[in-house]
Symmetry: C2
């Protein structure tokens, strides 16, 4: 998985502190001295996965409302549930449940965004996860931000509070979408993000309907609209990016905007198929995301890899599109590039931070293994993850969590979701 090289058979990875010290072929000779040795014989050692778009506390609403028309789902179920049940306590425990799920399925870095984002920082920190955690900014009354006039102040205070807090967690702003945020909000959120030197997230052209709404309002396509506002730059992470003209893809590429591709959410909500192979062909940086649990309904990035590869092929009736290696890269180094951490994580290379997962292959569905990329994308699921290391710390060992108490989390989720059902 080292950039530009073939997978290393019989590899050995040595970690010192939070960094990868050595990557080499395993010898028959003695094992170097180490405090901890994790045998990965016959397994696949993979860079930790980067979930490029999630709303982690939405685990609380997993399966609450499915198979509904988009507006019924959103206005009759999700928005009311968010208004009624979100508070610092529920967001904290919902995010911890997401951390359990992400760690157990190979995600070591989450690009997350929601409301009550302080609690997401606290939960991710407790879990030992790497994360970009963004506070939601929207021009409507929102959970924890009842007065939309204060949304940018709340956002800026969030950045102020958490910047430099830890090596693993970066705060950010999540400007909900060009439909739900005014021009002024978008511009100011962009300015604030630049001032702090932090990435900004938004939803972009997820549905045909919102794309039309922008066209009607601004007389141009959404990407050109954002460009005219001056917010289209390498600092912007655009989630979904489903309904795009070729000219918009070109502009995203020229402006070095990063895209978070969420195929399963786009399928489940009937939003459409993002032109991901085209974007990659035009040199756009693309990461892979699950979106929140209300629209997927899982945070399993290995399953998302399978869907991404297959959906790209059927969209153009071309089985050569988005090959397995490209998809593995999208979910690892692609996600790292999305948040500007490509020199720190995303591959297993000497000197990089030790974010690593180990995937078992001793199961029927992983047998035989001719090609590890194919196996990861088309055969594996998150359940095949056996161990996970984040920043040199073993957070999951032999399928046991070392940083989190799953019983405590399940008990609190039971308490919170018992009210919701």
């Amino acid at each position: 998985m080292v950039g530009g090289k073939d997978p290393l058979p019989n590899g050995r990875v040595c970690i010192c502190g939070d960094r990868i010290e050595d990557v080499s072929v395993r010898e028959n000779g003695p094992v170097p001295e180490a405090n901890v040795v994790i045998q990965a014989e016959g397994a696949i050692i993979l860079p930790g996965l980067v979930n490029a778009h999630s709303h982690s506390p939405m685990t609380l609403f997993r399966g609450l409302a499915d198979d509904l028309p988009l507006k019924t789902w959103l206005f009759d179920y999700i928005f009311p549930a968010e208004a009624k049940y979100l508070n610092p306590d529920s967001v904290y425990w919902g995010c911890l449940l997401a951390c359990l799920e992400m760690i157990a399925s190979g995600t070591t870095t989450a690009v997350d965004s929601y409301f009550f984002a302080d609690e997401i920082v606290r939960a991710a920190d407790k879990a030992g996860m790497r994360a970009l955690v963004a506070q939601g900014v929207i021009d409507f009354p929102a959970p924890g931000v009842p007065d939309p006039k204060r949304n940018l102040d709340v956002g800026a205070a969030f950045l102020e509070r958490w910047i430099g807090f830890s090596d693993l967690i970066t705060p950010g702003l999540f400007c909900h979408s060009p439909v739900t945020c005014s021009e002024n909000t978008l511009r100011q959120a962009c300015d604030i993000s630049h001032r702090f030197g932090l990435p900004m997230q938004t939803h972009l052209s997820e549905t045909q309907e919102e794309t039309e709404e922008i066209r009607k309002k601004a007389q141009v396509d959404p990407v050109f609209y954002l460009d005219a506002l001056g917010v289209l730059d390498g600092n912007l992470i655009a989630a979904h990016a489903v309904h795009l003209s070729d000219e918009e893809i070109d502009l995203l590429s020229r402006r070095e905007v990063k895209v978070a591709h969420c195929p399963e959410s786009n399928m489940k909500l009937g939003s459409g198929i993002a032109p991901v192979a085209k974007m990659l062909g035009k040199g756009v940086t693309v990461g892979l995301g699950t979106d929140g649990c209300a629209s997927n309904n899982n945070l399993d990035l290995l399953r998302e890899m399978d869907t991404a590869a297959k959906l790209a092929k059927v969209a153009y009736l071309d089985p050569t599109l988005l090959d397995a290696e490209s998809v593995v890269k999208m979910a690892t180094i692609g996600g790292a590039q999305l948040i500007g951490l490509e020199n720190m994580i995303g591959t297993i290379e000497e000197g990089k931070k030790a974010d690593i997962v180990i995937i078992s292959t001793d199961t029927p569905h992983m047998t035989p293994t001719y090609n590890p990329y194919s196996q990861l994308v088309y055969a594996a699921t998150g359940a095949d993850v056996r161990d996970a290391i984040i920043n040199g710390r073993v957070v999951y060992r032999d399928r046991q969590f070392t940083t989190l108490d799953s019983h405590e989390i399940f008990a609190n989720i039971g308490r919170i979701c018992g009210e919701i059902a």
Copy 2:
């Protein structure tokens, strides 16, 4: 899961011999006397899944060749590998590997078809699986049938040999496709199947290209072509059925043809998106299949359920299509109807055969559970299957196989696939 009823909370299923004796709500009182008690507190008890289309021994070629143009994949990789490496020994062990994978992911009945089908019968019988096992009939030299002139004789002898062999295994013919089989072969295979009172399988309109080929040859759409030959009836199981006109769907419905929907294979090979919601709307019986491992690359029907639901929605940008309950039914009673066993399996009802799987929900990704159908389709994978019972026999208990020796199977697969790689 009982037909027409809501899922039963706190249910209890009593099995006597090979049959379901009683389905009731669990009392706080004493458990009825039983030799074996399987606690399923907090778990989901589900009818065993029916894989409506598989070529089980193709586990041997899992991940051997992916992301290639269809003809390169087929003619440069799969056909040569089949010609070189298929023999009774490899088919037997490849099928046993598939049985491990299917049982461990909740499939209790397979609608299977391939060459050297005697070995599939032997393997399925050893595993204790329920199966319709079909011998391939094709007008080319094939593995085990070097002389295509003998393909129907070989097929008829196969039916003769295995009909009545066991309660669990039904033999059948698999007439490869209207493109690879002549009119005469199709007609005679249909006649033979009728003579034995056994279903016949075929591939139908999987790709645009083969659909065009039939149109060119016969001047009509493939479904009308098969109708003109007299083979289009309730005895026919048509796999894929991707490229269909509305008139063809109507005719499939009128003739009571059964359809095996294989969305992941259709996506991965870039074949297209089957109009599954339309077929269901027209009353066509549809089961859900994984296809073989060279084009998926797994046999996990729970993952296939997720893909089926999501693909149907994105195909028409309508999130209400193919709701979770419909998909669960497609993978259970739908598959049972496909092979005429709807009075025997496919639901958990008193008097039916005891084909049952138990799905754990004590994991992060299965928490919370508001709606079991949603959870099964959008959150679960095969890895959540904890126990499986086929025909009253516990074949998988606490994730351990009781009928198969996985070490022996892995060792033999290693031996066989070591030659292939």
